[in-house]
């Protein structure tokens, strides 16, 4: 038999199946509620819109999305209720009854119902009279809360209104599920980034050994005029590529997990450039690439996030070296203008077609894998980092490139 859990205005059954799997085990119900991590969260527009809609559909002054905790009723969203009533003891809430039932609860006169007549919100002068609540039932079949509407006068909802409120309650549940999934994904993402950080960090240490010792072996072989020197060339080249990739993965995971924060301080950009050169000279030396630097107006320290600049310039240089053939050149120019910094990295490299340039600039988050001139593999993470930093610094990027002629990256950052 269909049943409607109301206590004064009976008759018409609601055109819905009663949930036969509905469970009431309180401990499990509370666990299920906790898993949504929604209690005491900040207001969200998505929920507020639904309560507003519910109040309009039911034509009642009050609509709420309530969650029933062990000891309290906590309101995620409300219309017509002051903020101080967001939290109430469970025993004075009407919704405590709604979550016991798999279907809707309607109380046409709260003052006359034996369960609610004693409640302060009902008893007081001008108190509440009408209540209609739809339980919010989870995938595990527990009612964790309600979508309810209330009125100060007796009223009666039509079947159509009830149907619509049920649809809204469904929407509330969908949002809660999404909320939960989102949090799980976030956790997973954090874990993934943590793993990336850990792996790249741990890979560095043996690699430092390989790079250090092969550089020593080179000296020895050079002294002996050994014919095996080209073996060392390859070891050095591949280990330095691997090192660069690890750097990129590490930087990317740091940017992703720590978010993009600017920590400005007084920076001497000439020093920053010197540091970067120290890092990239070896790579350019290996490929016999002439690395030329031009700076202007950098004598005075500037109030900027020096590390972000270091990462940005470093990534641009590493990129340019990667795509420039042996014997080519890479020029870096950094000029302080009246209210901006102009950074240019120009190379005599393999260049890009206009389609490639366009897609590099347009595809926000896709990594564009490609190959460098010595077979260096590029994950495309480097450019993702470049873009992240430029956005953070509020800068503009412009790429000019011609296949076989080279590429110019021009970046202007306001300071």
């Amino acid at each position: 038999m269909r049943e409607r859990f109301d206590f004064c205005c009976t008759d018409q059954p609601i055109q819905d199946m009663i949930d036969l799997d509905f469970k009431t085990d309180e401990t499990r119900r509370l666990e299920d509620l906790q898993s949504y991590q929604i209690l005491d969260s900040l207001p969200e527009k998505a929920f507020d819109n639904l309560t507003k809609l519910a109040s309009e559909i039911a034509d009642t002054p009050i609509a709420m999305i309530n969650l029933i905790d062990e000891k309290r009723q906590w309101t995620k969203s409300m219309v017509g209720i002051p903020e101080e009533l967001r939290e109430a003891p469970r025993e004075v809430s009407v919704c405590q009854f709604t979550i016991k039932e798999p279907d809707v609860t309607e109380i046409c006169n709260l003052k006359e119902d034996y369960r609610t007549s004693h409640l302060p919100s009902v008893n007081s002068e001008g108190g509440l009279r009408y209540y209609f609540g739809v339980p919010l039932i989870t995938k595990n079949r527990y009612a964790i809360g309600t979508l309810c509407v209330l009125d100060y006068q007796e009223t009666k909802l039509s079947d159509k209104q009830i149907e619509q409120l049920k649809i809204i309650a469904n929407e509330v549940m969908t949002h809660l599920e999404l909320h939960k999934q989102n949090q799980e994904l976030q956790k997973l993402n954090e874990y993934k980034l943590q793993l990336m950080k850990m792996l790249s960090h741990d890979m560095r240490s043996p690699l430092n050994g390989i790079i250090g010792l092969s550089s020593m072996l080179r000296e020895q072989l050079e002294d002996e005029e050994s014919p095996h020197i080209d073996v060392i060339d390859i070891i050095e080249q591949s280990s330095s590529q691997l090192n660069q990739m690890i750097d990129e993965v590490m930087n990317y995971s740091i940017i992703e997990s720590e978010g993009l924060k600017l920590t400005p301080y007084n920076v001497n950009l000439e020093e920053v450039v010197d540091n970067i050169l120290q890092l990239y000279r070896p790579a350019s030396r290996i490929k016999d690439i002439d690395l030329e630097i031009y700076t202007e107006g950098l004598e005075e320290p500037i109030w900027i996030d020096g590390e972000k600049y270091e990462q940005l310039i470093g990534n641009l240089l590493s990129n340019a070296i990667k795509y420039t053939k042996k014997g080519g050149w890479v020029k870096l120019s950094l000029i302080r203008k009246s209210n901006s910094l102009e950074l240019k990295v120009i190379d005599s490299g393999i260049g890009m077609s206009s389609e490639e340039t366009k897609s590099l600039l347009e595809n926000e988050n896709r990594f564009q894998a490609s190959k460098g001139t010595s077979g260096e593999k590029s994950s495309g993470i480097g450019f993702a980092i470049i873009r992240h930093i430029i956005d953070l610094l509020d800068g503009d990027i412009n790429i000019e490139s011609a296949e076989g002629e080279g590429t110019t990256f021009r970046i202007e950052i306001p300071v």
Partner: protein, 119 residues
């Protein structure tokens, strides 16, 4: 170039590789420790002429803290090894007596150059 060098490095591979490079450069007396605490203990008896120090040590005090402590009783200079060249590190290092810093990965040529310049 022969100098008594104390390597303070918790990464064993890197420590070994630094030791081999130093030997090739001509240093005959080299000692390796993994922590700042150990460095403090041995530096009194070993009396190094240069500290080759990783800025980030896995446990206990940082490389810079260890150098500071050692330099309270001796004027032995440091050569830092670091994973990055950030300003924060350089500010900290300023309060110690150091000849230079090398950014990982360290090549033989770089190490040799720095040691020859400051020999």
């Amino acid at each position: 170039m022969d100098k008594k060098i104390l390597i303070i490095e918790d990464d064993l591979i890197l420590a070994l590789s630094l030791e081999m490079m130093l030997k090739r450069i001509g240093c005959t007396e080299i000692m390796k420790v993994e922590t700042g605490e150990e460095a403090l203990k041995v530096s009194e008896t070993f009396q190094p002429e240069l500290l080759l120090v990783d800025v980030q040590l896995g446990t206990g005090m940082t490389g810079i803290e260890a150098v500071k402590k050692i330099q309270e009783n001796s004027d032995v200079p440091a050569l830092y090894v670091t994973g990055n060249s950030d300003q924060y590190f350089r500010q900290k290092a300023e309060s110690t007596n150091y000849i230079d810093y090398l950014i990982k990965p360290i090549t033989y040529r770089e190490l040799n150059e720095v040691l020859c310049t400051h020999a």
